[in-house]
């Protein structure tokens, strides 16, 4: 839509220059903003290798428990990625909503000294429709 202005006819050619510069500036801003803000979805192995901010989709390792340390505001748990690799996670914040019943979690952060330091953890709740009918079905 931005190039609609440029399709105007010619009497003031420097109008194209304005539009052209504007588009170039926006494209540049867009590219640099995008470049610094894109976050890859990946697994534990690659996150360890990259060392930069990524998102890992996985599940909480229930057996290893969870803990929240209120004074330092750190929530700790372990997550297992889709390849089955486990990594301890430290979230800078409280336990996310519905953490215990989530079917999967998406942690965003980076690996530091073998620990995934997360800035954000999303929980995916069991989708209702993938669910089964009510358990223990009473007949009416």
């Amino acid at each position: 839509m931005t190039n609609e202005i440029t399709t105007q006819p010619r009497p003031f050619p420097w109008k194209y220059a304005i539009a052209g510069v504007a588009i170039a500036v926006l494209a540049f801003v867009g590219y640099t903003a995008f470049d610094s803000s894109s976050v890859e979805y990946t697994n534990v192995a690659r996150a360890e290798q990259l060392g930069k901010t990524v998102q890992i989709v996985g599940t909480w390792v229930k057996e290893e428990g969870l803990s929240y340390d209120a004074p330092s505001n750190v929530f700790r748990f372990s997550m297992k990625d889709e390849q089955g690799k486990i990594i301890p996670v430290e979230l800078a914040g409280a336990k996310p909503n519905n953490f215990e019943i989530a079917v999967s979690v998406v942690a965003k952060g980076r690996v530091e000294n073998g620990i995934f330091k997360a800035s954000n953890v999303l929980t995916k709740c069991p989708s209702k429709y993938e669910g089964q009918p009510a358990e223990a079905m009473p007949r009416s």
Binding site: V25, G30, A33, F34
Partner: protein, 795 residues
């Protein structure tokens, strides 16, 4: 059964009405087609209202033999929430959307007829409804429970006694108003599309603008208001702390809104200058396609991993219908525009750069740039997946960075557009006014800098917002003194400037503190003193929840207020995880926002970790050494009196030359956060020390490396009662009220404009000519302000 038959009949009615309107278009002399189509259309709207009523009645009567009723409602819900259950799931929200499109159609039919546009407009409108009703057949809210779960061996006789209930996050008044308003906005966006296509069919590239403009303004106002309500809901109830998070679901309602804002401005340009003919066609198509695209993004499950909103997988068939829906209307739009492309070139207009039309075009282009960036950002994970690359999402600062450039640009262009005049602007006048406004903006920005706004981004935003605000108030005031109905645009822009001020202050100058509050102990947090006063159970008459209000007193300079964040457990998620609501002290200058994070009791015991076979000193008495020999197995201990499994640590304790064997038992429960341990205290013989086993950490690979945790206490000392600890995030949000005031002001401005353009249209409509002359105070305005509109009806 009736519901299902009705839905199929409605699809038939929609398709037939569309075809009949099409035939009416081909045979202009024959009014029979139009009359039948109109009747069918009325029946369609009535049928949709009937379907919606049936669904609501099913929900209110708790007819859990319907899958939808079972999935989204339960017996415990009060009436207003039961009504809201109607659109809490996908099927119901599609029904709501379809019904609103049809109801708007009921008003649109006579409107289009009055402007001699009924057949082509209603043909495209009917096509939209055909697709929506087809979607309803696939996502049918009247499906029976036994049908849905036939594969699980459920038969006709199996009717659940209660439903699964409504997500507790939705249990508040907002759900009864936010979705219907949002969907009204979405539904109204179909109208501009239908008029644009009808204009192309009729080869009328200008008149449709005036006719569609009030509807486009309406859609923009309503959707904008709906989006704000969503933000307010998130802030007030859900405790997300802010009103906007660039979440895909939020973005997907913002994108169509941005496009329609661009469309409104481009339409104004065309109305005055006859330029931007193709742009408006393309924008009208884009608006509607973006409504469909956002429905696709949020309803097809493609963004599952990237949003805080939970998505429901709609199933393969619905996925393809949504995709087909989108592609069909994109193709219709593109093909229609291409077919008429040559024709539309007749009225080419050139804009000189120092004109209002040029600046408005630039403004529209910038808003479209925003829409494009937000679309790319939101769709990126999907795009990457489609082209087979590793999935990549963009962080929310992408949007912030982009808009730190785009928003000031839009605000400045907005002000310049108002400083310029249509067709041409005298240079000296423009220079003087621009300079005056810029100096004013500079002064006010300087004042803000004195009050603490020091960063470059907020300063640029502030300057541009002041610049826009000053120009709008000034130009607006001179217009309003001529006629109050002229105020619309200036009121709306003032609202936008206020909104931007609210965004600057809350996003850059919100103070957030993590605070651990011990019951009854005043704690200094920033400039405030917070005290956790105690908790009280509320809403006790509901058996499906345990809802606790946590009173927190906030004091500063002798003033004190109590806010009450809420934490509650609901049967909805088997009480496994608490739902949270913030406590807010509302204010004009700032909001104090207390977001609950966690509660626990003070830990008063001395705890020590111990490895198997290792020896440690007692934390109470360093002359006592403790060795963990082994853990006993659950089989050795048998079950505890309460049925829980038991294990024990076998300890050897050396103290004062004597050695004791001590067995520390612990009862193990299964908690949601892993196993829980309940130690049984044993006093070590000859001492006042009591020990218990408070945790076992099993190493499955190498059991010899298992470890445990021991707790100690001195039995001679009385045990203090542990106090409760309430952990919160406390934030001070300056001027967040400007966000709400700004959006409401903006919406109000649209109200003025709708009135204005509807009146203008009535006075210009060829069919309404007999009704002239209207009230005398409006007529001169047309002559003065809209001189070019007199020519706009020639086709």
């Amino acid at each position: 059964m009736i519901g299902q038959i009705l839905i199929h009949a409605l699809f038939g009615a929609a398709v037939t009405a569309t075809l009949l309107y099409g035939l009416a278009l081909r045979h202009p002399g024959n009014t029979w087609y139009t009359r039948v189509a109109r009747t069918l259309f009325t029946l369609l709207a009535l049928g949709l209202v009937a379907s919606a009523s049936m669904l609501v009645v099913n929900i209110i009567q708790h007819r859990f033999e319907y899958t939808y009723v079972w999935s989204y409602s339960s017996r415990e819900l009060p009436l207003h929430l039961l009504v809201a259950c109607f659109y809490s799931g996908q099927e119901g929200s599609f029904l709501l959307w379809t019904m609103l499109v049809a109801l708007i159609g009921v008003f649109l039919t006579p409107y289009a007829r009055r402007h001699n546009y009924e057949e082509p407009v209603m043909m495209f409108y009917g096509l939209i409804l055909s697709f929506l009703t087809l979607l309803l057949i696939v996502k049918n809210p009247f499906a029976f429970y036994y049908e849905t779960f036939a594969a699980d061996g459920i038969t006709l006789a199996d009717v659940p006694l209660n439903g699964r209930g409504l997500n507790p996050l939705l249990h508040n008044a907002w759900i009864t108003i936010h979705p219907p308003i949002l969907f009204t906005g979405f539904a109204a966006m179909s109208v501009s599309f239908a008029f644009a296509m009808a204009g192309l069919v009729r080869r009328d590239y200008h008149r449709w603008i005036s006719i569609a403009l009030p509807w486009t303004l309406f859609a923009t106002a309503v959707l904008g208001f709906g989006i704000m309500l969503g933000g307010f809901w998130a802030y007030e109830t859900l405790g997300w702390g802010g009103f906007w998070g660039w979440d895909p679901v939020e973005n997907s309602s913002l994108i169509p809104w941005l496009v329609t804002v661009a469309l409104v401005h481009a339409m104004l340009v065309q109305k005055r200058t006859h330029g931007l003919v193709k742009t408006n066609m393309i924008l009208a198509v884009t608006t509607f396609v973006m409504v469909l695209y956002s429905t696709f993004l949020t309803r097809s499950g493609v963004l599952g991993d990237t949003s805080v909103h939970s998505f429901v997988d709609p199933g393969k068939f619905a996925f393809w219908i949504l995709l087909l829906f989108m592609l069909t209307f994109t193709s219709i739009g593109v093909i229609m525009v291409l077919v008429r492309r040559k024709d539309m070139n007749i009225n080419r207009e050139e804009f000189s750069p120092s004109t209002r039309e040029f600046m408005l075009s630039i403004g529209s282009a910038l808003i479209m740039a925003s829409a494009i960036f937000v679309t790319i950002g939101t769709s990126w994970p999907v795009i990457m997946e489609v082209i087979g690359q590793p999935k990549v999402a963009v962080a929310t600062d992408f949007y912030n960075k982009i808009h730190l450039v785009l928003v000031p640009a839009v605000l400045i262009v907005n002000a310049l557009a108002l400083l310029m005049q249509w067709r041409s602007t005298p240079k000296h006048l423009l220079m003087r006014r621009t300079l005056e406004a810029a100096i004013g903006a500079g002064v006010f920005t300087g004042v803000m800098a004195v009050f603490g706004v020091r960063d470059i981004g907020p300063l640029i935003l502030s300057f541009s917002a002041w610049f826009s605000l000053i120009v709008n108030l000034r130009v607006g005031w001179s217009m309003v003194t001529k006629s109050a109905t002229m105020a619309g645009a200036y009121v709306s822009h003032t609202g936008i400037a206020l909104l931007i001020f609210g965004v600057i202050t809350t996003s850059s100058y919100t103070e957030s503190h993590h605070a651990v509050l011990i019951h009854g102990v005043p704690t200094k947090v920033g400039e405030y003193t917070l005290t956790y006063l105690g908790k009280e159970q509320i809403e006790k008459h509901f058996v499906d929840r345990e809802k606790l209000r946590y009173d927190v007193r906030i004091e500063k300079d002798g003033e004190s207020r109590v806010v009450a964040p809420v934490l509650y457990w609901s049967d909805f998620n088997q009480r496994q995880s608490a739902f949270l609501e913030p406590g807010i002290r509302w204010g004009v200058m700032n909001d104090l926002y207390v977001s609950p994070k966690a509660t626990e009791n003070e830990d008063l015991f001395l705890r020590t970790k111990i490895q198997k076979s290792a020896t440690i000193a007692s934390p109470l008495d360093s002359s006592m050494s403790i060795t963990l020999d082994r853990f006993t197995m659950p089989m050795e201990e048998g079950a505890a009196a309460d049925g829980r499994m038991q294990m024990a640590a076998m300890l050897t304790i050396q103290h004062g030359g004597a050695s004791h064997e001590v067995k520390a038992l612990t009862r193990i429960g299964t908690g949601s956060a892993g196993p829980t341990f309940d130690p049984e205290w044993v006093t070590i013989p000859g001492t006042t020390t009591s020990v218990g086993l408070s945790e076992i950490v099993r190493n499955n690979e190498d059991p010899s490396k298992s470890s445990g945790e021991l707790v100690f206490k001195d039995i001679t000392k009385p045990m203090p009662i542990p106090r409760e600890i309430f952990t919160v995030e406390f934030s001070v949000k300056p001027f967040i009220s400007l966000v709400w005031i700004g959006v409401i002001t903006m919406v109000a401005g649209f109200g003025f404009s709708i009135v204005r353009y509807t009146r203008l249209l009535k006075q210009q409509s060829p069919l309404a000519q007999g009704k002239r002359p209207p009230s005398s105070d409006v007529k001169p305005e047309i002559l003065q302000v809209q001189p070019t509109d007199a020519n706009s009806n020639q086709t």
